[in-house]
Amino acid sequence: MADFFFHTTLGQLLLIVLETLAVLVPLLLGVAYLTLAERKVMAAMQLRKGPNVNGPFGVLQAFADAIKMLTKETVIPSGANRMLFLFAPFLTFSLAMVAWAVIPTGNGLAIANINVGVLYLLAISSLGVYGILIAGWASNSKYAFLGGLRSAAQMVSYEVSIGLVIVSVLLAVGSLNLNDIVLAQRNVWFCLPMFPMFIVFFISALAETNRAPFDLPEGESELVAGFFVEYSALAFGLFFLGEYANMFLMSGMVSILFLGGWLPPLGIAPFTWIPGPLWLIAKILFCLFVFIWVRATFPRYRYDQLMRLGWKVFLPFSLAWMVLSAGFLMVTGLLPGGAG
């Protein structure tokens, strides 16, 4: 059986399909339940009950929402560019899915363990802006277009500091391979020595996923719902799922870059009993909880404040930290050089 999977072309193709399903099915279920978790957690923080009608504790609410979304009518505005209008949600959704190809869930356990894994993630996340920009433009609506433009400017701005934060992590690792990045954290997770970068990265991740307090592209009070104001039914559902899948992806990136990926907090007995993938899932869930916590806590930023934070605070700070950590690693001789 193992021979079939590893030594025949058909077997390898099947293996890839099975691996993909093993990642995507839990991911999509997770996305469905993240929407429920968000409503439940926010309800608890605001002393409400949240959804509690469908099923025990409202666990069937996610499916009720999905069925509602699927059975609604897809409305395409008359002035819209039909092709691009329908293309945008599919792009957003599929980009949020393909990025998971390189996320390692255990030592060497990734669909594709490629050498430039970090760059791949950076490339995919920088493409996310197109789905939003195209949606805003193709809708042929002022509100949608403004939302799309806001989002594009915001995502491009915060990608710069995300890139610099990743560079300072890479300096300490000496490899672009995500597997190596996690293995480099065996002694200490990077969130401790690089705590300021951890915070910068997390806040940038909030901005990158258009989450509160940086959810200006959606700004329902001034832009109705931003770039997806014209979307309904399945197309809207795909945007919605893509956005939540992006939250999962960003939490995954935070876990891998700073929280030691699949590694247990301490390499001793009770912690090592739990398998690696479960540790990674636990870390991702923790990050997602913080995403929701932030949303329930902070008011929305003003747009100029958002831009100022990105360009005038995070960019110089992460640049300075990058230079500082490079110098520190060089002086102490900890720089992992010449590995390649």
Binding site: V116, Y120, L122, A123, S126, V129, E159
Partner: protein, 257 residues
């Protein structure tokens, strides 16, 4: 075999989408075809084993440059009919420019020779199965050609500063905000509680209510604009005061409780 098929697929789509960039009627479609072309070029890099270049192409060109293109093109208000009016008139000029470029390209490529010392590059970067091409590129750029690389960076820096200098104007009408001043504001600076007499309304207060010291940043001297403009504005402000709050006759004004 498989690699060749993939190569021809990528190459065909690349050429087709590059053609569509020029031919598409809608400029937004042109930019989107350009992005498709970038993608296929990245695919070709991947086939050649240059994974770092492939990812960098996507990050830099698709993730940053093309976003700015799309940004500009989407916001342009292009009149397609008028744009096509000139095609007949400019076709000869375009044809001549295209022809000259084509002849030059043919001349360049027919005389293309590989440099005789090309194998020296191989000595600089010894290839080994464990060496990633990120490390190899870094070695070439930062170890062996560091001065040339830094000169390129300097040229780009000069271009960047030039662009900023050319476009940055100190516009006198611009309302530049000072974040520190915004944060330093207290209710005492900006808010004044007025006791409006019953049945009199704001008309008696001079039209509308406002604090004695205006909360507008514009009234703080030296906060923005050029020096000459600031002085002029301050003078105008004092000469033509828009609102002067004077207690209306017959009431005791603010003290009326």
């Amino acid at each position: 075999m498989m690699t060749q098929i993939v190569f021809y697929v990528f190459a065909a789509v690349l050429v087709l989408s590059a053609t569509m960039v020029v031919c598409a009627r809608n400029p937004v479609h042109s930019v989107l075809f350009l992005i498709l072309a970038f993608f296929n070029a990245a695919g070709l890099f991947l086939i050649a084993g240059a994974e770092f270049l492939a990812m960098t192409l996507v990050i830099v060109y698709v993730g940053a440059v093309a976003v700015l293109f799309l940004f500009v093109v989407m916001m342009l208000d292009v009149n397609f009919a008028r744009m096509r009016e000139g095609v007949q008139r400019y076709a000869p000029i375009g044809g001549v420019v295209g022809g000259v470029l084509l002849v030059e390209l043919i001349m360049a490529f027919t005389r293309w020779r590989v440099a005789s010392n090309i194998d020296q590059v191989g000595h600089i970067v010894p290839s080994s199965p464990t060496r990633t091409n990120t490390a190899a590129l870094g070695d070439v750029l930062y170890t062996h050609y560091i001065f040339l690389f830094q000169s390129c960076a300097l040229v780009l820096l000069v271009a960047m500063i030039g662009a900023i200098v050319l476009t940055l104007r100190d516009r006198p009408t611009g309302r530049r905000q000072n974040i520190d001043r915004q944060h330093d504001r207290t209710p005492a600076d900006s808010l004044e509680m007025l006791q409006v007499p019953l049945g009199v309304g704001v008309a008696a207060q001079g039209g509308f209510l406002r604090p004695h010291t205006s909360y507008d940043v514009a009234s703080v001297p030296g906060s923005y604009g050029t020096q000459a403009w600031r002085e002029q504005e301050m003078e105008e402000e004092t000469q033509t005061a828009l609102v002067v709050i004077t207690p209306a006759a017959g009431t005791k004004g603010q003290d009326n409780a």
